[in-house]
Amino acid sequence: MFVLLLISSGVWSLVAIACLMVGSRSVGWPEYEILSLRLYNHVLPASLIGSALACAGVTYQAILRNPLADPYLLGTSSGAMLAAYIYRLPVFATVGWISALTPHTFALLGALGITTLVLILCGSRGVIHPVTVILVGAIINSICGAVFLLLNSIFWDLQGTGGILTFMVGDIQTTASWQQIYLSALGIGIGWVLLVVLSPFLNVIRLGEDEASSLGVKIQRIRGLGLIIASGVTAAAVAISGPIGFIGLICPHIARWFCGNDNRRLMIVATALGASVLTMADALSRYLLSVQFIHTILPIGVITAILGGPFFLILLLRHRRE
């Protein structure tokens, strides 16, 4: 396992170094000042968010025993989006303590709040059924979306709605405060360690409820714990990036090609892969700014959706053929 961790870290490091050479103005090894800008504003946050989404994706897919499960299933992204929009409402502009918060803190609170609500609604006498989680998640997601649209049609002239676009499409926020980024990094770091510790139990869940119980594993407890940790990790990532699609969905699948279905290995490989893929997508987004006909910074969520969508379709078609 340690060797796998070393190899995965090595691959990510190589990708990160290559991506450090890609800039919006020049391609090649940059001067120190630009290097540190690329590292702290792009490569490290992208790696952090990518790894968070990928490890959360592995957990969701294992717990819900659904290969289509992604980290936004429990309404994390819609909660963050709605909270970020509510933050901008004129009503709250005059409330001192709310004004003192940042939209990212609001997004984090929204993501955690909605996820907690979904988990409470799903749990019946301490039992969480995967199908109920998917259904309740979908309903809460659509309610949040409807409330967002309702508010948007009432306050459609809201100032500075550019930030809302970020929370709809997803991007590496280069205007988030360092305090917010450190806070998210801490949350993701702790969450990742806990998910790695939990990963052997995720293998047992795959066997089914009866088999797991016969092995002495309290499957409901593992399920609840896994969902809470994975949702917390996703919320921490969404707070500084918005919902970046497909990373949490496709990285676990790609990782399975390399290391099979063992969740212990999968957690490590998918994490490195998520970090690498999002760092590359971010480098591509920066590189495209220099392309004359584009001439704008493309949100990273657009790139992951354009590249991830067809890739996932290929994956599905291949799966159907088999």
Binding site: L14, V15, A18, C19, L20, M21, V22, G23, S24, R25, S26, V27, G28, W29, E33, I34, L37, R38, N41, R88, A93, S99, T102, P103, S153, W156, D157, Q159, G160, G162, G163, L165, T166, D171, Q173, T174, T175, A176, S177, W178, Q179, Q180, I254, W257, F258, S276, M280, A283, L284, R286, Y287, L289, S290, H295, T296, I297, P299
Partner: protein, 285 residues
């Protein structure tokens, strides 16, 4: 195995992009340079005669010649800090409420030694106020006062011939309009019109509500619209049976790309277009 190789090949291809040592674009640097992330602010800078000091613009810049000539540094949510490091401007202008600015924006500007100036334009008077404030911040106070006076004079040349009820629609389906206490309402009032929408802001309307209004002129503002959209807008207004309509309501579609931009140039231009239309309607009466 073949698919694994395919994934490795893609990874290799993307990483080799980073090894291409090729300088893409060399932006100009000026010690007193200004980067404007707000198209309205760029227009104010042009009115202050500071065109040459602008060294970077936003992705949404309305001034086509500046956008093609200067590096684009994103918008206030997504800033390309790398370009800012290369340009090294002294000032960065953003538009929005100062208490709602992303916190990382001021943090990073401070670390790069860039002075952040935020402007907020909601009403017509804000344009003149911001012109003076911006001039003060950039050390050209007198130029600002002169420019504001000049803009004021250009908007006072036409004396309104009486209050003509008018409606401002902001899309071809007539769903969005400009109400009271907006930059567009201020322009209409100054040009001699009276907004038939009495609520403030930009309310959403339906056909039933539209039929209860009695405007004599309908301004449809469609930035950059094509002929088909303009026809749609005309048909939409023609189909509405406005209350107490004795004569045909005049329709004026304005489709300049910057028609909704709260800038000096657009304010002057739109004021003229509105006052011409109102004067003609007044003469018909």
């Amino acid at each position: 195995m073949g698919q694994r190789n395919f994934v490795f090949l893609i990874l290799l291809l993307i990483t080799t992009i980073g090894c291409d040592n090729n300088e893409v674009h060399k932006p100009q640097s000026r010690p007193d340079g200004i980067v404007s992330l707000s198209p309205a602010a760029t227009d104010l800078l042009v009115h202050l005669g500071l065109y040459d000091r602008i060294v970077g613009v936003s992705s949404y810049e309305a001034n086509a010649s500046l956008k093609s000539r200067l590096p684009v540094v994103g918008d206030y949510q997504r800033i390309d800090w790398e370009t800012l490091v290369v340009i090294r401007p002294r000032y960065l202008i953003v538009q929005g409420r100062s208490d709602r600015m992303p916190p990382g924006l001021s943090e990073r500007c401070q670390s790069l030694g860039i002075q952040l100036i935020d402007i907020q334009i909601d009403r017509l008077d804000d344009i003149l106020m911001m012109l003076v404030r911006l001039a003060q911040a950039l050390g050209v106070e007198q130029t600002g006062l002169n420019a504001a006076r000049k803009v004021q004079i250009q908007m006072d040349t036409v004396i309104p011939s009486g209050k003509i009820p008018a409606l401002i629609l902001l899309n071809e389906s007539g769903k969005f309009s400009a109400g009271k206490q907006t930059f567009l309402d201020d322009l209409l009032t100054r040009a001699g019109g009276e907004n038939v929408i009495t609520t403030s802001g930009y309310p959403t309307l339906d056909r039933e509500f539209l039929a209860t209004l009695a405007p004599q002129i309908v301004f449809v503002l469609l930035p950059g619209a094509d002929d088909k959209t303009v026809d749609q807008a005309r048909q939409m207004v023609d189909q509405i049976r406005f209350s107490g309509q004795s004569k045909k309501t005049r329709i004026r579609v304005i489709r300049r790309p910057d028609v909704l931009l709260p800038s000096c140039t657009n304010a002057i231009q739109l004021f003229r277009e509105m006052s011409d239309e109102i004067r003609e309607k007044g003469l018909q009466k």
